[in-house]
């Protein structure tokens, strides 16, 4: 059980690190948000799963089970909340006419796109 917790936490740290590097290195706001949202959500989920496995190493006892259920509730809430916050922020950026980055500097679509009125 402790081995599983260690593996989960190291995987979570790996995803956090890749998300941070992508957040620094990508050229555009939209691509940066893509890197951040995915790595963030998966890293949080893996870390919380590892901690819930670690709380069960005291033995099958009501303390460890209750703390595990609370940790899983944090994971479920964050798994619902983080994509919602990302989507709202992306919509806000789209509404305020932020032009996406392309390699040769030309816009692919007609920008801003026509919004449904």
């Amino acid at each position: 059980m402790i081995i599983g917790a260690k593996i989960f936490m190291i995987a979570g740290l790996f995803f956090f690190t890749t998300a941070a590097i992508g957040f620094l290195r990508f050229p555009d706001f939209y691509t940066r948000m893509h890197a951040t949202a995915k790595g963030d959500t998966l890293g949080t989920l893996l870390f919380v799963m590892g901690l819930a496995l670690y709380t069960l190493h005291y033995g099958i006892h009501w303390f460890g089970i209750v703390q595990g259920i609370k940790l899983i509730s944090i994971a479920v809430f964050w798994f619902l909340a983080s994509p919602t916050a990302t989507h709202a922020l992306l919509r806000s950026a789209l509404e305020s006419d932020l032009v996406p980055w392309t390699k040769d500097g030309k816009v692919v679509l007609a920008w801003p796109p026509k919004r449904g009125k």
């Binding site: 941070a20 706001f29 919380v48 901690l51 509730s73 305020s96």
Partner: protein, 88 residues
């Protein structure tokens, strides 16, 4: 196991320092907002790890849950406020 948790916590602190650059020098407002949200997410995990190190995880889980709700609501409100005002 204590040493493992301390090493993981220090690695997480080093990972917090990376998006701080984007949060301070970000080109647009939205970069700063998402940098703040990213640091907030790592703060949740940091609170949980500190709870495990102190041996009081039953108290720190509630703090982490409250902090995650605060982070979510903050990002939503900021993204509502900056519609048609950001990108400059």
């Amino acid at each position: 196991m204590e040493g493992f948790f301390i090493v993981i916590t220090l690695g997480l602190c080093a990972t917090i320092l990376l998006p701080l650059y984007r949060g301070v020098f970000g080109p647009t407002v939205f970069d700063r907002v998402i940098g703040a949200g990213f640091i907030g997410t790592k703060t949740i995990i940091l609170i949980l790890l500190i709870g495990v190190i102190y041996g009081r995880i039953d108290m720190f889980i509630d703090l982490a849950l409250a902090y995650s709700i605060l982070n979510f609501i903050g990002t939503l409100i900021v993204s509502k406020y900056f519609i048609r005002k950001g990108a400059r």
